[in-house]
Symmetry: C2
Subunit: 308 residues, 2 copies
């Protein structure tokens, strides 16, 4: 009953002035053979190379907002994809302005990628579907930051039924197996095979919610409810909650409160302020409210497993 | 007879697809208390931080051309300067297009630096002065690359005469010392002091020539003649000279030939192609023509000393 992996690689989890050796926001979500990039701070292409993550497997890029620490690595990444002979289409979802920012640079640098770039402006006012492929559906929803900013909910599609090998008769034809996986009833050798007798239901689809940079917004709990993993802005400790409000960021305790309210299974916190020498207190303050919390550590990866 | 230092820090010396851990073109020239940035590939701000080089000491930035590996770090650097509370004016010299590239990003990211940015378009057709401050004069000259591209010649200004301490009478007034330094004849206590008797001529001004990315251009020898140090594009080994010509780059042997022709004292080579696992052959082929050649190694610094 194998299943493709669903892994979040942290390419950077710091805010705009990262300590030496650390990077601004970027994450790679890998599902099966494809991958998806969430935000793209300066130097993201080099972090991908370091972790041996293939740039040209990226099918779509989602940019939360247009502060430099979330998009400045995009132009260099696109250039490198082109130098690496990418031919597959690339989808980019971003707030208004990114198209202009890339277009003016492509014009003056005379950069004409050989692959097709499909830009789409993110402007949803509620939870709205913006992307779909064979593997996933992505929805965006508005956050609240100093610039217009969106969160992304990535949902795996429901897969096929899972064949129970030992219940399948010998020489059972492959096309009939496919029908069983697709919840059909099959007649073979004058016998009827009901899909429920020789296969298990599909694995439950996995769900990842990415929320940065934002104030604590209780109402988004409805949109991210039940996610397997929530990544949330946790720029500040509780002692700096006023500063969090002023800068439209959240404390780790607020991130935990949202995790608790929305019934997600696990919380990953990041976008750490440069004022903290370590992130222990951020973690402790979150865990006091929502135990299953982890720090987003650059270079680490966080797999989501199916419940079976 | 102390003198301020004159040091080139290599922040990156690789071409557009650097190996893991290495960076695209950028150099910091430090003279006395001020510094000057030459090109600014992606991640330059992080390289400055790593080497503990202060971003806000940079007085002027010179961009050779608008390929991404030479300018993509600029927007992030400007943001960081602003977050680090810079107030001093900053001068930026770059080819046509950079102003538009920065302006559109400042507009959409709502980034309004509190310091003044003075842009100037580089468009010289010969050796032309573009910048001058208390310490240096910078001239630009056209190179030949796939995009319009310029080299920069940085010349120290002629300093003051150097006082010979043991030839100065006791209690000689300070204002008179200043006159001596300024090549004046002074009368004090009914005695005449000729500046030549109690001081040495100023130290010879130092000169640095920065030439990347470019074809081998013999005619620029006249502009860089006698420089203390020449940094030159040496993307390719001689075996790939045809590829060098096709891509408007130079071989290390060609860089050495230019160094020889122009009578510079030392050659520094860089902009290494990603096809080479090491740069020994680039160095050997250059040294066969011009012995005083070094590889530009990221993180290293190259001081220029006055001849005395």
């Amino acid at each position: 009953l194998s299943n493709s992996h669903f892994i979040i690689h942290i390419l950077g989890a710091n805010s705009a002035k990262p300590p030496i050796g650390l990077n601004q926001t970027s994450q790679l979500l890998t599902i099966g053979e494809g991958s998806y990039l969430l935000d793209c701070g300066e130097g993201t292409q080099f972090r991908l190379d370091e972790l041996r993550l293939k740039q040209n497997r990226i099918k779509a890029i989602f940019i939360s907002h247009l502060h430099g620490d979330h998009y400045l690595g995009l132009m260099g990444l696109l250039s490198s994809m082109s130098m690496n002979h990418r031919t597959a289409d690339l989808h980019i979802f971003a707030p208004k302005g990114l198209i202009e920012i890339l277009t003016v640079q492509m014009h003056f640098t005379e950069f004409f990628p050989e692959f097709e770039l499909n830009f789409k402006e993110v402007n949803s006012v509620s939870l709205e579907k913006i992307y779909e492929d064979k593997q996933i559906i992505v929805e965006s929803f508005p956050l609240s930051h100093r610039l217009p900013c969106w969160g992304f909910l990535i949902r795996e599609k429901i897969g096929e039924r899972r064949i129970i090998a030992e219940n399948i008769p010998e020489n059972f034809p492959y096309p009939f197996l496919a029908k069983i996986k697709n919840s059909e009833i099959v007649v073979w050798n004058e016998q009827t095979y009901h899909f429920e007798d020789i296969s298990l239901p599909p694995l439950p689809p996995r769900k990842y919610a990415f929320c940065t940079d934002t104030l604590f917004l209780p109402h988004i709990a409805q949109w991210i409810a039940g996610a397997d993993l929530l990544y949330h802005d946790a720029t500040f400790e509780t002692q700096h909650e006023i500063r969090a409000n002023e800068t439209y960021h959240a404390t780790s305790a607020q991130a935990a409160q949202l995790a608790e309210m929305s019934g997600v299974k696990k919380l990953l916190i990041g976008h750490f302020s440069s004022r903290y020498a370590n992130y222990n207190k951020l973690l402790v303050e979150a865990k006091a409210i929502f135990e299953n919390t982890e720090l987003a550590i650059q270079g680490n990866f966080y797999p989501i497993f199916n419940e079976t």
